[in-house]
């Protein structure tokens, strides 16, 4: 005998909102691709073009011509694109006609992540078994450092993109721990190919600034060039050896170009720091900026040029004195509602 189970209509009615976004079967996507190709050929015929050489740009132009729309948002206008661009990936249904899922870990929820963990753990077990075999035969395990500092593991976002699944921080850290354990084991050569899929190379940054060697001109006098900038002024300086301390700026003598003592002091500062005041000649060109900024630019350029004449220790002293650093200060912009960059309007109580 059958017993009647009493339920409400609420339970029986299908909750459409809670069922989530639509999932597409592979057959559905294939049909969409066929329809798209057919439609492309029809469109080409309609526009009088050759169906074989009808590109995506031609399609967009044709659609814009046939269906003119005044909508502002580009994504709201009528579009005809390849179905792989319209239907997002990983929305295909994961089971076949009879209902059996394709992947053996489907019922866990995160099938690609867990299958990855399963595979990596399998590799770990293989490595341990191989190591045991080699120790049984008598070969001691070698300790090699394989991880050069130029490689890093994939980030969480990159791994999510690779697996097309959402991960949690805990999951990601567990996976990285597994990979690091695999690296530390000896006999990881077989698994290196597998691990390369999950590591990326960082371009090694040059930490040492290359000091240019001295160049020699026609008379055999050593010289070197340097470039410098300050605010808007840009300067290039050529420092010659065996000189008498003469400085030429833009073809003019320094006393004429910089009448103010402060600017000339700025130019002499690098030479004074290195005790080479009367030993070098300098010819420089400068443009832009004002009086003081041009002086600062030439100072930086001459200091950079002097690096080639001087030992590494003295270069370090110059760097610590601040002679080799470009001054990053620029004129700050004036803001609306204020009189200047920082000055506010006078505050009146009434």
């Amino acid at each position: 005998t059958l017993r009647v189970i009493y339920t409400t209509t609420v339970v029986q009615r299908k909750n459409v909102a809670a069922s989530g976004p639509e999932k597409y079967t592979e057959a559905f996507i294939k049909k969409q691709i066929e329809e798209f190709n057919l439609g492309k050929r029809h469109l080409a015929n309609m526009m009088g073009e050759d169906p074989e050489t009808f590109t995506q740009e031609d399609i967009d132009k044709a659609i814009a011509y046939l269906f003119p729309s005044g909508l502002f948002d580009e994504r709201a206008r009528p579009m005809m694109k390849h179905p792989t661009e319209i239907f997002p990936e990983k929305r295909k249904i994961q089971w076949g006609e009879d209902g059996r899922p394709f992947h053996f870990l489907f019922y866990t929820g995160k099938q690609s992540y867990y299958s990855l963990m399963h595979e990596t753990y399998g590799m770990l077990l293989n490595a341990q078994k191989y190591q045991d075999q080699m120790t049984a035969q008598g070969f001691p395990p070698e300790k090699e450092k394989k991880n050069l500092p130029g490689s890093r593991w994939l980030t969480k976002v990159e791994l999510e993109e690779m697996l097309l699944e959402k991960l949690s921080d805990h999951d990601y850290s567990r996976f990285i721990q597994l990979l690091q354990k695999l690296v530390t084991l000896p006999y990881g050569n077989v698994e290196e190919k597998y691990m390369q899929k999950f590591s990326k190379e960082i371009a090694t940054q040059l930490q040492k600034v290359v000091i240019e060697p001295l160049k020699y001109d026609e008379q055999g006098v050593a010289f070197s060039t340097g470039e410098g900038q300050r605010k808007t002024a840009r300067a290039t300086a050529v420092v010659y050896d065996n000189g008498s301390g003469k400085i030429t700026v833009n073809g003019v003598d320094v006393l004429h170009y910089f009448p103010v003592l402060q600017d000339r002091e700025q130019l002499l500062f690098p030479f004074q720091f290195l005790d080479r005041i009367g030993k070098h000649d300098m010819i420089c060109t400068v443009s832009g900026g004002g009086r003081s900024s041009q002086a600062g630019a030439i100072r930086l350029a001459s200091a950079k040029a002097l690096r080639s004449f001087v030992t590494e220790k003295e270069v370090e002293f110059m760097r610590q004195a601040g002679l080799l650093t470009t001054d990053p200060r620029l004129k700050e912009r004036k803001k609306p509602g204020q009189e200047g960059a920082r000055r506010k309007f006078t505050w009146k109580k009434r």
Binding site: G20, W95, D98, R100, P101, F104, L105, Y107, H118
Partner: protein, 216 residues
């Protein structure tokens, strides 16, 4: 088609699962060893043969009967193309259980069990999912030594369960409990081998019968 499905139901042991294991095999795989008597669960007392030096010994005669019933049931489910889900929360044998499931062509879940996987499947796994038709527990406790949530959920969703119950487990809601050790590597390897062989046998039998009835 009806004859295909009705034929195995006539025989008590259509797939001859009795020949897959013997009492000596169970003893060699240390299936009879239970936990200490302090860990004993009240409902496991009928299945325990006795207690030696504080360690419980499981009655292997009862285990033989229960195992034969359980394997027969899984064979029938596999013959009728049901979905079998292996569940085990033991970290030591997770990889083994997953590889067993993959080789059978069935499914496994040896990871953290998310709350609504069976009861809320239409939202979590997608609308129109087919739920498993049989759950096989290689270890029916989770990592906190509590009964696995899947036993209760399967009972709620009317899904039959087969499970290896140790002396500290609750055999109540499992439809085909198999009292036996679930912590030794040899015992777990034996269970995996037995389940794999029954499922493969049942599937082969099904293919044979389909060909046989198509020829007629």
């Amino acid at each position: 088609d009806d004859r295909l499905l009705a034929e195995p139901l006539g025989h008590p042991d259509f797939f001859n699962v009795q020949e897959l294991f013997s009492l000596k095999d169970l003893f060699d795989a240390r299936v009879h060893l239970g936990h200490k008597k302090g860990c004993r669960h009240r409902f496991m007392e009928p299945y325990i043969f006795g207690c030696r030096l504080g360690q419980d010994i499981i009655d292997l005669d009862q285990t033989m009967q229960h195992l034969q019933l359980a394997l027969n049931f899984t064979a029938h489910v596999a013959y009728r193309k049901g979905i079998i889900l292996f569940v085990s929360r033991n970290r030591q044998f997770g990889h083994l259980v997953e590889s067993t499931a993959r080789e059978c062509g069935e499914y496994a879940h040896t990871r953290y069990w998310q709350g609504g996987l069976l009861t809320n499947a239409h939202i979590q796994l997608g609308p129109g999912v087919r739920l498993p038709d049989l759950l096989v527990f290689i270890n029916s406790l989770n990592n906190v030594f509590e009964p696995h949530v899947a036993i209760r959920d399967a009972a709620k969703m009317n899904i039959p369960t087969v499970g290896v119950v140790d002396t500290n487990c609750n055999p109540c809601l499992i439809t085909y409990p198999v009292p036996g050790n679930d912590d030794s590597p040899t015992a777990v390897e034996l269970y995996c081998k037995l389940f794999k062989m029954t499922i493969i046998r049942a599937k082969d039998k099904r293919k044979q019968k389909e060909v046989f009835y198509e020829l007629q």
